[in-house]
Protein backbone atom coordinates (compact mmCIF):
# COMPACT_ATOMS: atom_id res chain seq x y z
CA UNK A 1 0.00 0.00 0.00
CA UNK A 2 1.08 3.52 -0.62
CA UNK A 3 0.46 6.75 1.13
CA UNK A 4 -2.28 8.67 -0.58
CA UNK A 5 -1.71 12.02 -2.12
CA UNK A 6 -3.10 14.99 -0.30
CA UNK A 7 -5.64 15.83 -2.97
CA UNK A 8 -7.21 12.46 -2.65
CA UNK A 9 -7.73 12.81 1.05
CA UNK A 10 -9.28 16.22 0.60
CA UNK A 11 -11.83 14.93 -1.90
CA UNK A 12 -12.66 12.02 0.24
CA UNK A 13 -13.39 14.27 3.17
CA UNK A 14 -15.75 16.39 1.14
CA UNK A 15 -17.78 13.44 0.02
CA UNK A 16 -17.89 11.50 3.24
CA UNK A 17 -18.23 14.21 5.82
CA UNK A 18 -21.89 14.79 5.15
CA UNK A 19 -23.40 11.33 5.03
CA UNK A 20 -23.65 8.10 6.90
CA UNK A 21 -22.96 6.73 10.36
CA UNK A 22 -19.69 7.07 12.19
CA UNK A 23 -18.42 3.70 11.12
CA UNK A 24 -19.30 4.40 7.49
CA UNK A 25 -17.36 7.62 7.60
CA UNK A 26 -14.41 5.93 9.20
CA UNK A 27 -14.54 2.96 6.85
CA UNK A 28 -14.53 5.25 3.88
CA UNK A 29 -11.18 6.63 4.94
CA UNK A 30 -8.61 4.42 3.36
CA UNK A 31 -6.05 3.11 5.75
CA UNK A 32 -2.75 4.85 5.52
CA UNK A 33 0.22 2.64 6.04
CA UNK A 34 2.97 3.77 8.40
CA UNK A 35 6.43 4.05 6.97
CA UNK A 36 7.22 7.57 5.85
CA UNK A 37 10.83 7.46 6.91
CA UNK A 38 11.30 11.22 6.69
CA UNK A 39 9.10 11.51 9.76
CA UNK A 40 11.38 9.53 12.04
CA UNK A 41 10.45 6.33 13.77
CA UNK A 42 7.50 7.80 15.63
CA UNK A 43 6.34 8.33 19.16
CA UNK A 44 5.73 5.53 21.65
CA UNK A 45 4.30 5.74 25.15
CA UNK A 46 5.33 2.82 27.35
CA UNK A 47 3.46 2.25 30.60
CA UNK A 48 2.83 5.92 31.28
CA UNK A 49 1.37 6.90 34.65
CA UNK A 50 0.64 10.42 35.82
CA UNK A 51 -0.09 11.95 39.21
CA UNK A 52 -1.20 15.33 40.50
CA UNK A 53 0.06 15.33 44.08
CA UNK A 54 -1.52 12.26 45.65
CA UNK A 55 -4.10 11.90 42.90
CA UNK A 56 -3.30 9.13 40.45
CA UNK A 57 -4.75 10.59 37.26
CA UNK A 58 -3.55 8.18 34.61
CA UNK A 59 -2.53 4.52 34.84
CA UNK A 60 -0.35 2.43 32.60
CA UNK A 61 -1.01 3.77 29.13
CA UNK A 62 0.98 2.22 26.31
CA UNK A 63 0.29 3.62 22.89
CA UNK A 64 2.26 3.92 19.64
CA UNK A 65 1.88 6.74 17.17
CA UNK A 66 2.97 5.82 13.68
CA UNK A 67 4.72 8.50 11.66
CA UNK A 68 2.36 10.39 9.38
CA UNK A 69 -0.86 9.20 10.99
CA UNK A 70 -3.62 10.97 12.87
CA UNK A 71 -4.60 9.42 16.19
CA UNK A 72 -7.72 10.56 18.04
CA UNK A 73 -8.01 10.28 21.82
CA UNK A 74 -11.62 10.03 22.95
CA UNK A 75 -13.35 9.43 26.27
CA UNK A 76 -15.54 11.14 28.85
CA UNK A 77 -14.46 14.27 30.67
CA UNK A 78 -11.82 13.83 33.37
CA UNK A 79 -10.48 10.49 32.10
CA UNK A 80 -6.96 11.82 31.58
CA UNK A 81 -6.76 12.58 27.86
CA UNK A 82 -5.23 16.01 28.35
CA UNK A 83 -2.93 14.69 31.03
CA UNK A 84 -1.69 11.94 28.72
CA UNK A 85 -1.21 14.39 25.86
CA UNK A 86 0.85 16.66 28.07
CA UNK A 87 3.15 13.83 29.12
CA UNK A 88 4.05 13.42 25.43
CA UNK A 89 5.88 16.74 25.18
CA UNK A 90 6.81 17.17 28.82
CA UNK A 91 4.28 19.92 29.45
CA UNK A 92 2.95 17.80 32.32
CA UNK A 93 5.85 18.89 34.52
CA UNK A 94 4.70 22.49 34.18
CA UNK A 95 2.22 21.79 36.98
CA UNK A 96 4.04 22.02 40.31
CA UNK A 97 2.45 18.95 41.92
CA UNK A 98 2.85 16.74 38.87
CA UNK A 99 4.68 13.40 38.81
CA UNK A 100 4.89 10.59 36.25
CA UNK A 101 6.21 7.11 35.61
CA UNK A 102 6.97 5.14 32.44
CA UNK A 103 8.73 6.02 29.24
CA UNK A 104 7.92 8.10 26.19
CA UNK A 105 10.13 7.24 23.23
CA UNK A 106 10.65 9.74 20.44
CA UNK A 107 12.56 8.10 17.58
CA UNK A 108 13.47 5.36 20.00
CA UNK A 109 14.91 7.60 22.72
CA UNK A 110 13.25 8.27 26.06
CA UNK A 111 12.34 11.95 26.33
CA UNK A 112 12.40 11.64 30.13
CA UNK A 113 15.94 10.23 30.22
CA UNK A 114 18.45 12.13 32.32
CA UNK A 115 20.26 14.88 30.42
CA UNK A 116 17.65 15.29 27.69
CA UNK A 117 17.20 18.92 26.66
CA UNK A 118 13.51 19.46 27.25
CA UNK A 119 13.31 22.50 24.96
CA UNK A 120 14.51 20.33 22.04
CA UNK A 121 11.76 17.81 22.81
CA UNK A 122 9.10 20.51 22.73
CA UNK A 123 10.47 21.75 19.41
CA UNK A 124 9.98 18.31 17.90
CA UNK A 125 6.63 17.70 19.60
CA UNK A 126 4.53 20.82 19.11
CA UNK A 127 1.21 21.61 20.76
CA UNK A 128 -2.05 23.41 19.96
CA UNK A 129 -4.18 24.30 22.96
CA UNK A 130 -7.91 24.09 23.53
CA UNK A 131 -8.35 27.85 23.76
CA UNK A 132 -6.72 29.87 20.98
CA UNK A 133 -3.84 31.72 22.64
CA UNK A 134 -2.03 34.00 20.20
CA UNK A 135 0.56 36.20 21.90
CA UNK A 136 -1.28 39.47 22.54
CA UNK A 137 1.77 41.71 22.25
CA UNK A 138 2.67 40.47 18.77
CA UNK A 139 1.40 41.01 15.24
CA UNK A 140 0.13 38.13 13.11
CA UNK A 141 3.50 37.75 11.42
CA UNK A 142 5.40 37.94 14.70
CA UNK A 143 3.06 35.35 16.20
CA UNK A 144 3.79 32.85 13.45
CA UNK A 145 7.54 33.38 13.77
CA UNK A 146 7.52 33.57 17.58
CA UNK A 147 8.83 30.02 17.92
CA UNK A 148 11.98 30.90 16.01
CA UNK A 149 12.68 33.72 18.41
CA UNK A 150 11.79 31.70 21.50
CA UNK A 151 13.93 28.75 20.50
CA UNK A 152 16.61 30.92 18.87
CA UNK A 153 16.41 29.18 15.51
CA UNK A 154 17.74 30.66 12.29
CA UNK A 155 15.96 30.65 8.96
CA UNK A 156 17.11 31.71 5.55
CA UNK A 157 13.96 33.44 4.53
CA UNK A 158 11.40 34.47 7.08
CA UNK A 159 8.86 35.69 4.54
CA UNK A 160 8.78 32.34 2.79
CA UNK A 161 8.41 30.49 6.08
CA UNK A 162 5.64 32.86 7.14
CA UNK A 163 3.70 32.31 3.95
CA UNK A 164 4.28 28.56 3.98
CA UNK A 165 3.06 28.11 7.56
CA UNK A 166 0.01 30.31 7.13
CA UNK A 167 -0.73 28.47 3.90
CA UNK A 168 -0.46 25.07 5.58
CA UNK A 169 -2.69 26.27 8.41
CA UNK A 170 -5.24 27.45 5.85
CA UNK A 171 -5.05 31.07 6.94
CA UNK A 172 -2.87 32.76 4.32
CA UNK A 173 -5.67 33.99 2.05
CA UNK A 174 -7.52 35.60 4.94
CA UNK A 175 -4.63 37.47 6.53
CA UNK A 176 -2.08 38.13 3.82
CA UNK A 177 -3.07 41.79 3.60
CA UNK A 178 -2.84 42.47 7.31
CA UNK A 179 0.16 40.57 8.55
CA UNK A 180 1.20 43.52 10.68
CA UNK A 181 -2.06 43.94 12.57
CA UNK A 182 -2.14 42.19 15.87
CA UNK A 183 -3.32 38.65 16.40
CA UNK A 184 -6.08 39.39 18.88
CA UNK A 185 -8.06 41.12 16.12
CA UNK A 186 -8.82 37.80 14.40
CA UNK A 187 -11.92 35.67 14.92
CA UNK A 188 -11.67 32.68 17.27
CA UNK A 189 -11.32 30.21 14.39
CA UNK A 190 -8.70 32.34 12.68
CA UNK A 191 -6.82 32.69 15.96
CA UNK A 192 -6.75 28.91 16.34
CA UNK A 193 -5.40 28.49 12.81
CA UNK A 194 -2.84 31.17 13.65
CA UNK A 195 -1.78 29.03 16.62
CA UNK A 196 -1.48 26.03 14.32
CA UNK A 197 0.69 28.08 11.94
CA UNK A 198 2.78 29.17 14.91
CA UNK A 199 3.27 25.56 15.97
CA UNK A 200 4.23 24.53 12.42
CA UNK A 201 6.87 27.25 12.04
CA UNK A 202 9.40 25.37 14.15
CA UNK A 203 8.84 22.27 11.95
CA UNK A 204 7.67 19.80 14.58
CA UNK A 205 7.69 16.11 13.86
CA UNK A 206 4.60 15.53 16.00
CA UNK A 207 1.69 17.90 16.65
CA UNK A 208 -0.46 17.45 19.76
CA UNK A 209 -3.90 19.06 19.64
CA UNK A 210 -6.09 19.26 22.74
CA UNK A 211 -9.70 19.80 21.63
CA UNK A 212 -8.57 22.39 19.07
CA UNK A 213 -12.11 22.99 17.80
CA UNK A 214 -14.10 23.02 21.02
CA UNK A 215 -14.48 26.80 21.01
CA UNK A 216 -15.21 27.12 17.30
CA UNK A 217 -18.18 27.29 14.96
CA UNK A 218 -18.82 24.52 12.40
CA UNK A 219 -17.24 26.50 9.56
CA UNK A 220 -13.97 27.09 11.37
CA UNK A 221 -14.03 23.51 12.60
CA UNK A 222 -14.28 22.25 9.03
CA UNK A 223 -11.37 24.46 7.97
CA UNK A 224 -9.23 23.09 10.78
CA UNK A 225 -10.19 19.51 9.94
CA UNK A 226 -9.12 20.15 6.36
CA UNK A 227 -5.88 21.58 7.70
CA UNK A 228 -5.32 18.45 9.78
CA UNK A 229 -5.91 16.20 6.78
CA UNK A 230 -3.44 18.17 4.72
CA UNK A 231 -0.84 18.18 7.46
CA UNK A 232 -1.08 14.50 8.20
CA UNK A 233 1.23 13.49 5.38
CA UNK A 234 4.06 15.54 6.83
CA UNK A 235 3.37 15.62 10.57
CA UNK A 236 2.29 12.95 13.04
CA UNK A 237 -0.86 14.22 14.73
CA UNK A 238 -2.49 13.33 18.05
CA UNK A 239 -5.83 15.00 18.62
CA UNK A 240 -8.12 14.96 21.66
CA UNK A 241 -11.75 15.44 20.75
CA UNK A 242 -15.21 15.05 22.24
CA UNK A 243 -16.72 15.08 18.80
CA UNK A 244 -17.15 11.51 17.50
CA UNK A 245 -17.88 12.76 14.00
CA UNK A 246 -14.64 14.66 14.07
CA UNK A 247 -12.65 11.68 15.29
CA UNK A 248 -14.16 9.60 12.52
CA UNK A 249 -13.50 12.24 9.90
CA UNK A 250 -9.89 13.09 10.64
CA UNK A 251 -8.21 10.17 12.37
CA UNK A 252 -6.62 6.95 11.23
CA UNK A 253 -6.45 5.44 14.71
CA UNK A 254 -8.61 6.02 17.77
CA UNK A 255 -7.84 5.34 21.41
CA UNK A 256 -10.61 5.21 23.99
CA UNK A 257 -9.85 6.38 27.53
CA UNK A 258 -12.03 5.83 30.59
CA UNK A 259 -11.83 6.37 34.32
CA UNK A 260 -13.98 4.23 36.63
CA UNK A 261 -13.52 6.61 39.53
CA UNK A 262 -9.85 5.71 39.88
CA UNK A 263 -7.05 6.71 37.54
CA UNK A 264 -7.87 7.03 33.86
CA UNK A 265 -6.92 4.11 31.63
CA UNK A 266 -6.76 3.38 27.97
CA UNK A 267 -9.45 0.81 27.32
CA UNK A 268 -8.94 0.14 23.66
CA UNK A 269 -7.02 1.33 20.62
CA UNK A 270 -7.51 0.38 17.02
CA UNK A 271 -8.04 1.76 13.59
CA UNK A 272 -10.76 4.35 13.67
CA UNK A 273 -12.87 2.19 11.43
CA UNK A 274 -12.72 -0.72 13.86
CA UNK A 275 -13.38 1.38 16.95
CA UNK A 276 -16.50 2.84 15.44
CA UNK A 277 -17.83 -0.27 13.70
CA UNK A 278 -16.82 -3.28 15.80
CA UNK A 279 -15.11 -2.27 19.04
CA UNK A 280 -13.80 -5.20 21.08
CA UNK A 281 -14.70 -3.75 24.46
CA UNK A 282 -18.30 -3.28 25.53
CA UNK A 283 -17.52 0.03 27.26
CA UNK A 284 -16.07 1.41 24.04
CA UNK A 285 -19.16 0.39 22.16
CA UNK A 286 -21.41 2.03 24.74
CA UNK A 287 -19.42 5.22 24.52
CA UNK A 288 -19.20 5.54 20.75
CA UNK A 289 -22.84 4.68 20.28
CA UNK A 290 -23.88 7.20 22.90
CA UNK A 291 -25.27 4.68 25.39
CA UNK A 292 -22.62 5.57 27.88
CA UNK A 293 -23.22 5.87 31.62
Amino acid sequence: MTIESEDNQGDEMETTASKGSLSDIAAARLQKQPGNSALGVGLEARGVHAWFGEKHALANVSLDFWPGTVTALIGPSGCGKSTFLRTLNRMHEFIPTAAMAGEVLLNGEDIYAAGVDVTKIRLKVGMVFQKPNPFPSMTIAENVLAGLKLAQLKTENKDDLLEECLERAGLWAEVKDRLNTHGGALSGGQQQRLCIARALAVRPQVLLMDEPCSALDPGSTLRIEETISQLSSSVTIVIVTHNMQQAARVSDYTAFFLSDGGPGQMIEVGSTNEIFSRPKDERTENYVTGRFG
Binding site: M91, G126, N133, G147, Q152
Partner: protein
Protein backbone atom coordinates in the same frame (compact mmCIF):
# COMPACT_ATOMS: atom_id res chain seq x y z
CA UNK B 1 -40.75 55.95 -7.60
CA UNK B 2 -41.69 53.58 -4.95
CA UNK B 3 -45.08 54.01 -3.41
CA UNK B 4 -44.37 51.70 -0.51
CA UNK B 5 -44.00 53.64 2.71
CA UNK B 6 -40.61 53.64 4.26
CA UNK B 7 -40.64 51.61 7.47
CA UNK B 8 -40.67 53.98 10.42
CA UNK B 9 -37.73 53.59 12.78
CA UNK B 10 -39.05 54.01 16.32
CA UNK B 11 -37.42 56.61 18.51
CA UNK B 12 -34.91 55.01 20.89
CA UNK B 13 -36.26 55.12 24.45
CA UNK B 14 -35.04 54.08 27.87
CA UNK B 15 -38.14 52.62 29.55
CA UNK B 16 -36.01 51.71 32.59
CA UNK B 17 -34.83 55.29 33.26
CA UNK B 18 -36.18 57.29 36.19
CA UNK B 19 -39.51 58.97 35.44
CA UNK B 20 -40.22 62.55 36.51
CA UNK B 21 -42.29 61.11 39.35
CA UNK B 22 -39.31 59.07 40.55
CA UNK B 23 -37.09 62.11 40.39
CA UNK B 24 -39.60 64.20 42.28
CA UNK B 25 -39.69 61.51 44.93
CA UNK B 26 -35.90 61.50 45.29
CA UNK B 27 -35.92 65.28 45.42
CA UNK B 28 -38.57 65.15 48.13
CA UNK B 29 -36.48 62.78 50.23
CA UNK B 30 -33.43 65.02 49.83
CA UNK B 31 -35.45 68.06 50.91
CA UNK B 32 -36.89 66.19 53.88
CA UNK B 33 -33.41 65.06 54.91
CA UNK B 34 -32.12 68.61 54.60
CA UNK B 35 -34.96 69.86 56.77
CA UNK B 36 -34.23 67.22 59.39
CA UNK B 37 -30.55 68.19 59.50
CA UNK B 38 -31.42 71.89 59.99
CA UNK B 39 -33.85 71.07 62.77
CA UNK B 40 -31.31 68.85 64.49
CA UNK B 41 -28.52 71.41 64.35
CA UNK B 42 -30.91 74.03 65.68
CA UNK B 43 -32.20 72.07 68.68
CA UNK B 44 -29.12 70.02 69.65
CA UNK B 45 -25.71 71.34 70.69
CA UNK B 46 -24.17 70.05 67.45
CA UNK B 47 -22.87 72.61 64.99
CA UNK B 48 -20.72 73.08 61.92
CA UNK B 49 -20.68 71.85 58.32
CA UNK B 50 -19.72 68.34 59.37
CA UNK B 51 -22.77 68.01 61.60
CA UNK B 52 -25.05 69.08 58.74
CA UNK B 53 -23.44 66.55 56.42
CA UNK B 54 -23.54 63.66 58.90
CA UNK B 55 -27.16 64.21 59.89
CA UNK B 56 -28.17 64.75 56.28
CA UNK B 57 -26.68 61.36 55.28
CA UNK B 58 -28.31 59.54 58.18
CA UNK B 59 -31.66 61.20 57.64
CA UNK B 60 -31.55 60.46 53.93
CA UNK B 61 -30.84 56.77 54.56
CA UNK B 62 -33.65 56.47 57.11
CA UNK B 63 -36.29 58.35 55.13
CA UNK B 64 -35.36 56.53 51.91
CA UNK B 65 -35.64 53.21 53.72
CA UNK B 66 -39.04 54.05 55.17
CA UNK B 67 -40.43 55.33 51.88
CA UNK B 68 -39.26 52.24 49.97
CA UNK B 69 -40.57 50.00 52.74
CA UNK B 70 -44.04 51.52 52.56
CA UNK B 71 -44.12 51.53 48.75
CA UNK B 72 -42.41 48.26 47.83
CA UNK B 73 -41.77 46.15 50.91
CA UNK B 74 -38.73 44.93 52.77
CA UNK B 75 -36.43 43.58 50.02
CA UNK B 76 -36.71 46.78 48.00
CA UNK B 77 -36.15 48.85 51.13
CA UNK B 78 -32.98 46.92 52.06
CA UNK B 79 -31.75 47.22 48.48
CA UNK B 80 -32.26 50.94 48.43
CA UNK B 81 -30.74 51.31 51.90
CA UNK B 82 -27.51 49.62 50.81
CA UNK B 83 -27.36 51.62 47.64
CA UNK B 84 -27.55 54.75 49.78
CA UNK B 85 -24.91 53.41 52.15
CA UNK B 86 -22.43 52.66 49.36
CA UNK B 87 -23.00 56.05 47.77
CA UNK B 88 -22.39 57.74 51.11
CA UNK B 89 -19.19 55.76 51.60
CA UNK B 90 -17.91 56.78 48.19
CA UNK B 91 -18.66 60.44 48.88
CA UNK B 92 -16.85 60.22 52.21
CA UNK B 93 -13.87 58.53 50.56
CA UNK B 94 -13.58 61.03 47.73
CA UNK B 95 -14.23 64.15 49.83
CA UNK B 96 -10.73 64.51 51.31
CA UNK B 97 -9.11 64.10 47.89
CA UNK B 98 -11.34 66.69 46.27
CA UNK B 99 -10.88 68.95 49.26
CA UNK B 100 -7.09 68.70 48.98
CA UNK B 101 -7.13 69.45 45.26
CA UNK B 102 -9.42 72.44 45.74
CA UNK B 103 -7.36 73.81 48.63
CA UNK B 104 -4.11 73.45 46.72
CA UNK B 105 -5.54 75.23 43.71
CA UNK B 106 -7.20 78.03 45.71
CA UNK B 107 -4.10 78.79 47.74
CA UNK B 108 -1.49 77.87 45.16
CA UNK B 109 -2.59 79.73 42.05
CA UNK B 110 -1.88 83.09 43.72
CA UNK B 111 1.77 82.15 44.02
CA UNK B 112 2.07 81.09 40.39
CA UNK B 113 4.29 83.25 38.25
CA UNK B 114 6.20 82.40 35.10
CA UNK B 115 9.53 83.12 36.79
CA UNK B 116 8.89 80.03 38.91
CA UNK B 117 9.95 77.93 35.95
CA UNK B 118 12.88 80.02 34.78
CA UNK B 119 14.67 81.13 37.94
CA UNK B 120 16.10 79.58 41.07
CA UNK B 121 16.56 80.99 44.57
CA UNK B 122 20.29 81.56 44.66
CA UNK B 123 19.97 85.35 44.98
CA UNK B 124 16.49 85.59 46.48
CA UNK B 125 14.91 84.74 49.79
CA UNK B 126 11.51 83.19 50.34
CA UNK B 127 10.18 86.42 51.79
CA UNK B 128 10.76 88.36 48.54
CA UNK B 129 7.62 89.34 46.59
CA UNK B 130 6.23 86.76 44.15
CA UNK B 131 7.89 87.11 40.78
CA UNK B 132 11.41 87.24 42.14
CA UNK B 133 13.27 83.97 42.09
CA UNK B 134 11.65 80.63 41.28
CA UNK B 135 11.71 76.91 41.80
CA UNK B 136 13.50 75.70 38.67
CA UNK B 137 16.27 74.30 40.85
CA UNK B 138 13.70 72.35 42.87
CA UNK B 139 12.06 70.90 39.76
CA UNK B 140 15.47 69.82 38.46
CA UNK B 141 16.34 68.34 41.84
CA UNK B 142 13.08 66.39 42.19
CA UNK B 143 13.44 65.14 38.62
CA UNK B 144 16.98 63.88 39.28
CA UNK B 145 16.06 62.29 42.62
CA UNK B 146 13.06 60.47 41.20
CA UNK B 147 14.83 59.48 37.99
CA UNK B 148 17.71 57.80 39.79
CA UNK B 149 15.38 56.22 42.34
CA UNK B 150 13.46 54.80 39.38
CA UNK B 151 16.58 53.47 37.66
CA UNK B 152 17.47 51.60 40.83
CA UNK B 153 14.08 50.39 41.98
CA UNK B 154 12.25 49.47 38.77
CA UNK B 155 14.58 46.64 37.71
CA UNK B 156 14.78 45.32 41.27
CA UNK B 157 11.03 45.60 41.76
CA UNK B 158 10.12 43.91 38.48
CA UNK B 159 12.70 41.15 38.92
CA UNK B 160 11.32 40.51 42.41
CA UNK B 161 7.82 40.27 40.95
CA UNK B 162 9.09 37.88 38.28
CA UNK B 163 10.68 35.72 40.95
CA UNK B 164 7.43 35.65 42.89
CA UNK B 165 5.16 34.83 39.93
CA UNK B 166 7.33 32.98 37.42
CA UNK B 167 10.06 31.15 39.29
CA UNK B 168 8.11 30.50 42.49
CA UNK B 169 11.15 29.09 44.22
CA UNK B 170 11.61 28.03 47.81
CA UNK B 171 11.87 31.61 49.04
CA UNK B 172 8.62 32.82 47.49
CA UNK B 173 6.73 32.95 50.78
CA UNK B 174 9.34 34.74 52.88
CA UNK B 175 10.09 37.22 50.12
CA UNK B 176 6.43 37.95 49.57
CA UNK B 177 6.10 38.59 53.30
CA UNK B 178 9.18 40.79 53.32
CA UNK B 179 7.94 42.89 50.40
CA UNK B 180 4.61 43.39 52.14
CA UNK B 181 6.30 44.38 55.36
CA UNK B 182 8.62 46.74 53.50
CA UNK B 183 5.73 48.62 51.96
CA UNK B 184 4.84 49.70 55.47
CA UNK B 185 8.28 51.14 56.25
CA UNK B 186 7.93 54.82 57.27
CA UNK B 187 9.93 57.07 54.97
CA UNK B 188 11.97 58.50 57.82
CA UNK B 189 13.23 54.99 58.57
CA UNK B 190 14.46 54.59 55.01
CA UNK B 191 16.13 57.98 55.35
CA UNK B 192 17.77 57.10 58.65
CA UNK B 193 18.99 53.81 57.24
CA UNK B 194 20.86 55.51 54.40
CA UNK B 195 22.02 58.16 56.87
CA UNK B 196 23.53 55.54 59.14
CA UNK B 197 24.78 53.20 56.42
CA UNK B 198 26.23 55.67 53.93
CA UNK B 199 26.26 59.29 55.05
CA UNK B 200 27.93 58.85 58.45
CA UNK B 201 30.56 56.24 57.57
CA UNK B 202 31.40 57.22 53.98
CA UNK B 203 30.30 60.48 52.42
CA UNK B 204 29.98 62.48 55.63
CA UNK B 205 28.01 65.11 53.69
CA UNK B 206 24.71 65.56 51.90
CA UNK B 207 24.23 64.75 48.22
CA UNK B 208 21.34 63.89 45.92
CA UNK B 209 22.19 60.28 45.29
CA UNK B 210 21.71 59.34 48.93
CA UNK B 211 18.21 60.73 48.64
CA UNK B 212 17.61 58.61 45.54
CA UNK B 213 18.73 55.51 47.43
CA UNK B 214 16.27 56.18 50.24
CA UNK B 215 13.48 56.83 47.74
CA UNK B 216 14.39 53.59 45.94
CA UNK B 217 13.95 51.67 49.20
CA UNK B 218 10.44 53.12 49.43
CA UNK B 219 9.67 52.48 45.76
CA UNK B 220 10.74 48.85 45.49
CA UNK B 221 7.82 47.35 47.45
CA UNK B 222 5.25 49.38 45.53
CA UNK B 223 6.74 48.44 42.16
CA UNK B 224 7.19 44.78 43.16
CA UNK B 225 3.68 44.31 44.54
CA UNK B 226 1.91 46.09 41.70
CA UNK B 227 3.98 44.21 39.10
CA UNK B 228 3.21 40.95 40.86
CA UNK B 229 -0.53 41.62 40.66
CA UNK B 230 -0.18 42.49 36.98
CA UNK B 231 1.85 39.37 36.15
CA UNK B 232 -0.66 37.18 37.98
CA UNK B 233 -3.32 38.39 35.54
CA UNK B 234 -1.42 37.07 32.51
CA UNK B 235 -3.12 33.77 31.64
CA UNK B 236 -0.93 30.72 32.22
CA UNK B 237 -1.96 29.65 28.71
CA UNK B 238 0.50 32.16 27.32
CA UNK B 239 3.36 30.91 29.45
CA UNK B 240 2.59 27.34 28.40
CA UNK B 241 2.35 28.34 24.75
CA UNK B 242 5.76 30.00 24.96
CA UNK B 243 7.35 26.98 26.55
CA UNK B 244 5.56 24.55 24.22
CA UNK B 245 7.20 26.30 21.26
CA UNK B 246 10.60 25.24 22.52
CA UNK B 247 11.53 28.38 24.43
CA UNK B 248 13.35 28.22 27.73
CA UNK B 249 11.44 29.64 30.65
CA UNK B 250 13.57 32.76 30.63
CA UNK B 251 12.98 33.45 26.94
CA UNK B 252 9.28 32.75 27.24
CA UNK B 253 9.01 35.22 30.13
CA UNK B 254 11.06 37.85 28.35
CA UNK B 255 9.41 37.53 24.93
CA UNK B 256 5.83 36.65 25.85
CA UNK B 257 4.88 37.35 29.46
CA UNK B 258 6.58 40.70 30.04
CA UNK B 259 5.43 42.23 26.71
CA UNK B 260 1.89 41.06 27.41
CA UNK B 261 2.04 42.77 30.81
CA UNK B 262 3.76 45.87 29.50
CA UNK B 263 1.07 48.44 30.17
CA UNK B 264 0.53 47.12 33.68
CA UNK B 265 4.25 47.20 34.41
CA UNK B 266 4.45 50.81 33.29
CA UNK B 267 1.60 51.59 35.64
CA UNK B 268 3.48 49.87 38.45
CA UNK B 269 6.49 52.04 37.73
CA UNK B 270 4.45 55.24 37.78
CA UNK B 271 2.68 54.27 40.99
CA UNK B 272 6.11 53.88 42.53
CA UNK B 273 7.13 57.33 41.29
CA UNK B 274 3.94 58.87 42.62
CA UNK B 275 4.60 57.19 45.95
CA UNK B 276 7.98 58.92 46.40
CA UNK B 277 7.82 62.16 44.40
CA UNK B 278 6.57 64.09 47.40
CA UNK B 279 8.53 62.31 50.12
CA UNK B 280 10.06 64.88 52.41
CA UNK B 281 11.63 63.29 55.46
CA UNK B 282 14.52 61.35 53.85
CA UNK B 283 15.20 64.27 51.51
CA UNK B 284 15.60 66.72 54.39
CA UNK B 285 17.99 64.32 56.02
CA UNK B 286 20.14 63.32 53.08
CA UNK B 287 20.19 65.76 50.19
CA UNK B 288 20.37 69.23 51.71
CA UNK B 289 18.30 72.03 50.24
CA UNK B 290 20.39 74.29 48.09
CA UNK B 291 18.61 77.14 46.37
CA UNK B 292 20.97 76.99 43.41
CA UNK B 293 20.58 74.80 40.35
CA UNK B 294 22.61 71.64 40.74
CA UNK B 295 22.75 69.11 37.92
CA UNK B 296 25.16 66.77 39.65
CA UNK B 297 23.34 64.30 41.80
CA UNK B 298 26.57 62.82 43.17
CA UNK B 299 28.00 66.04 44.50
CA UNK B 300 26.71 68.93 46.54
CA UNK B 301 23.49 69.96 48.19
CA UNK B 302 20.45 69.36 45.96
CA UNK B 303 17.22 71.31 46.16
CA UNK B 304 13.86 69.60 45.58
CA UNK B 305 10.18 70.47 45.56
CA UNK B 306 9.35 69.00 48.98
CA UNK B 307 12.37 70.77 50.44
CA UNK B 308 11.39 74.04 48.77
CA UNK B 309 7.87 73.77 50.19
CA UNK B 310 9.19 72.97 53.64
CA UNK B 311 11.62 75.90 53.67
CA UNK B 312 9.01 78.28 52.28
CA UNK B 313 6.47 77.34 54.96
CA UNK B 314 9.12 77.69 57.65
CA UNK B 315 9.83 81.28 56.56
CA UNK B 316 6.28 82.13 57.59
CA UNK B 317 5.54 85.40 55.74
CA UNK B 318 2.50 85.74 53.40
CA UNK B 319 4.82 85.72 50.35
CA UNK B 320 6.70 82.63 51.42
CA UNK B 321 3.50 80.76 52.23
CA UNK B 322 2.09 81.63 48.81
CA UNK B 323 5.33 80.23 47.35
CA UNK B 324 4.90 77.04 49.34
CA UNK B 325 1.39 76.44 48.01
CA UNK B 326 2.55 77.16 44.49
CA UNK B 327 5.30 74.56 45.00
CA UNK B 328 2.73 72.00 46.10
CA UNK B 329 0.60 72.80 43.08
CA UNK B 330 3.57 72.28 40.74
CA UNK B 331 4.38 68.95 42.41
CA UNK B 332 0.78 67.77 42.04
CA UNK B 333 0.68 68.79 38.39
CA UNK B 334 3.93 66.94 37.71
CA UNK B 335 2.52 63.76 39.25
CA UNK B 336 -0.70 64.10 37.24
CA UNK B 337 1.31 64.60 34.03
CA UNK B 338 3.32 61.47 34.83
CA UNK B 339 0.15 59.45 35.38
CA UNK B 340 -1.33 60.63 32.12
CA UNK B 341 1.87 59.92 30.23
CA UNK B 342 1.96 56.44 31.71
CA UNK B 343 -1.61 55.74 30.67
CA UNK B 344 -0.92 56.87 27.12
CA UNK B 345 2.32 54.88 26.88
CA UNK B 346 0.76 51.80 28.42
CA UNK B 347 -2.32 51.78 26.22
CA UNK B 348 -0.52 52.16 22.93
CA UNK B 349 -1.51 49.27 20.73
CA UNK B 350 0.94 46.84 19.23
CA UNK B 351 1.36 46.37 15.54
CA UNK B 352 2.18 49.96 14.62
CA UNK B 353 5.53 50.01 12.99
Amino acid sequence: MSIIEKPVTPKPRKPWAATPVDRAKTGGIVLAALAVSFVFVAVTPMSGKLAYAAIFCLAYLVIDFVVSFVKAGRPAAVDSFFRGLVTTAIVIAVMPIVSILVTVWVRGHKGLHWTLFTKDMHSNSFTDPIGQGGLLHAIIGTFLLVFFAMIISVPIGILTALYLTEIRGKFTRPIEFLVQAMSGVPSIVAGLFIYAAILIPFTKTVNGFQGSLALAILMIPTVARTSQEVLKLIPSDLREAGVALGGTQWRSVALVVVPAARSGLITAMILGVARVAGETAPILLLTGGSGTKNYNIFNGSLGSLPNYVWQAFAAGTPESIARAWAGILVLLVIVVILFTAARILGNRKVGKK
